[in-house]
Symmetry: C2
Subunit: 232 residues, 2 copies
DNA sequence: GCATTGCTTCGGCCTCGGTCGAAGCATCGG
DNA sequence: CCGATGCTTCGACCGAGGCCGAAGCAATGC
C-alpha cells in the first residue's frame, strides 16, 4: 500500500527556492560547479553542498569530479522536461543573469549545443524556419515533423531514411531555449540536424564550452537551406 | 532580479506526502470532496483543509461548491501534465485503491470520460487500434494523427474537415490512462472521437459519475470501426 | 614542505509548516 | 426550530530542515 511518496520526495527536492534556482541554472544543459551554483542561489557553499547532496540523492542531478572541481548537471532530459512542466504552471519566470554573462556568453547565446542538438539564436532560428515552411508543427504540447517535412529532410540529406524508426526516443520534440525563451528542435530530429551541420562544416566547436561558430560556408548554406542570416 | 521562486512555490505545493496523494487521487479528472481527499491522504479534515487551501492558492486545483460539499479537481490538463512529468522521474508509483473501489468502479475502469475524451479500457483499446492501423503515432513524448489517419477519420465522419485548424489547443496528444497505465488519445482528436461515440449512440452516460456504458449498437460499431471487442 | 582553493561535515540556532483538538459556520433534513 | 454533516478557522505543539560558523579533507600550486 505504497502511496505517491516518491512523487512528494522529488517535488520537495525542487520545492525550495535555493534548489529551484540551482536547477533553473542548469536548465540549458551546462555543468556548473558547486561554487557557481551557490552563487546563483545566493547561499554559502556549505548550504549549497547540502542542497546538492539532496538533489543527487533523489536523482535530479549527477556530478562529475574533475580535479578539485565538481561539475553538476541535470541527470537526464526527462528531468529538464519535468522542470519545464513545472515552469509551465509557475508562469513567466524571470531569471537573473546566471554565472558570468561576459562577452563569451554572446557566442553561447548566438549558437551552442544543448545535449546533442542545436540551441541558442541559431537553434531557434532553424526551428522558426522549419515551422514557417510547414516542415514541423509546434504547439504548446509537442512538436512533429510533417510528411512534407520528412520528404524535404530526406532530400536535403539531413535525415537518413532509416533513422528514428525503431528508437524509443522521442523523434521530434520542442525544447525551450533558455537564452531565447522560445522552443528549438530536440529529439532524434534535432540531433540529426546538429550532426548534419557539424559534418557539413556549417558550424564548429568554438572552445571548451558548448558554443558553436558558424563558418563562412555555414553562413551560405544556412541561408540557402533555411533562409537564415546569422549575425557575424 | 526575480529568481525561480514561482517554480519553488509550485513544486513545494506538490512536495508533501499528503498533498501529493491528493493530487494523485485527482489525476483521472474526477472531482473529489475534501473529506474524500482527507481519506486518501490519511489525515484529518482540518489538516486536509489547510492543504487544499494551499493547492488552490498556487493554482493546482480548483474548487466548486455544491450544497455543503466542495468538489476539488485539477485546475487544468497542464497541471496533470506537470504531475505526470514528476511521476516519470519519481519512477513506478503504486497507489492504494482510491476512494471506493467498489463494483461501480469496474464500470469506470471499463469506459469513462476523462475531461472531454474517452478513457478506461475503451479509451486505451481505441488508442491501440488507431496505432495498429497507422492512423496515429504515439511515442514517449507525443502523439500525432497521420495523413492517412486524417483521411480515414474524415471518411468515418468522426473528424469534421474544419475542426482543429485554427485552435491553439493541442490537436492530438497522449494522456496516460490512470487505471490502465497506458496512453489514450486526448486533445481535439480525442474529443472528436468521444463526441462521435456519444452522438452515434455507441456509448451513454451510466450514472452521475463519468462512467460510460457501451450500447448494443456500440458493440457492433466499435467492432466494425476499430476492431474492438468490449467486455459486456 | 606550506598556503590556497574547492568542497564537505559537524554542530547549533531558529523558523516554517504539518499535525490535531476544539470551536465556529454554513447547509441540509427533519 | 433542532440536530447532523461538511468544512473551515483558531490555537498550540513539535519535529524537520534551512541556515551559517568553524573545522576537516582533498587537490593544486608554489
Amino acid at each position: 500500500m505504497v502511496t505517491a511518496n516518491g512523487m512528494a520526495e522529488v517535488a520537495a527536492a525542487v520545492g525550495e527556492p535555493a534548489r529551484a534556482a540551482m536547477l533553473a541554472a542548469l536548465m540549458d544543459g551546462r555543468a556548473l560547479t558547486a561554487s557557481e551554483l551557490a552563487e546563483v542561489a545566493a547561499i554559502t557553499p556549505q548550504t549549497a553542498s547540502s542542497h546538492l547532496a539532496r538533489l543527487i540523492l533523489v536523482g535530479l542531478i549527477v556530478v562529475e569530479k574533475q580535479g578539485r572541481h565538481r561539475y553538476h548537471r541535470l541527470a537526464s532530459p526527462a528531468v529538464a522536461h519535468m522542470i519545464e512542466g513545472i515552469m509551465q504552471i509557475a508562469g513567466g519566470i524571470e531569471v537573473r543573469p546566471l554565472v558570468r554573462t561576459g562577452p563569451r556568453d554572446l557566442a553561447m547565446r548566438a549558437a551552442r549545443t544543448c545535449y546533442d542538438h542545436l540551441a541558442g539564436q541559431l537553434g531557434v532560428d532553424i526551428a522558426d524556419a522549419l515551422q514557417a515552411r510547414g516542415a514541423v508543427e509546434i504547439d504548446g504540447d509537442g512538436a512533429r515533423l510533417t510528411d512534407t517535412g520528412r520528404t524535404w529532410m530526406h532530400d536535403m540529406g539531413i535525415l537518413k531514411p532509416d533513422i528514428g524508426k525503431q528508437s524509443s526516443r522521442p523523434f521530434c520534440r520542442p525544447c525551450l531555449d533558455w537564452s531565447e525563451r522560445r522552443p528549438h528542435i530536440a529529439g532524434v530530429l534535432g540531433a540529426a540536424i546538429c550532426t548534419h551541420a557539424m559534418e557539413q562544416g556549417w558550424v564548429r566547436r568554438r572552445a571548451a564550452n558548448r558554443a558553436l561558430e558558424v563558418t563562412p560556408k555555414g553562413h551560405t548554406a544556412l541561408k540557402a537551406t533555411f533562409g537564415i542570416t546569422c549575425a557575424r
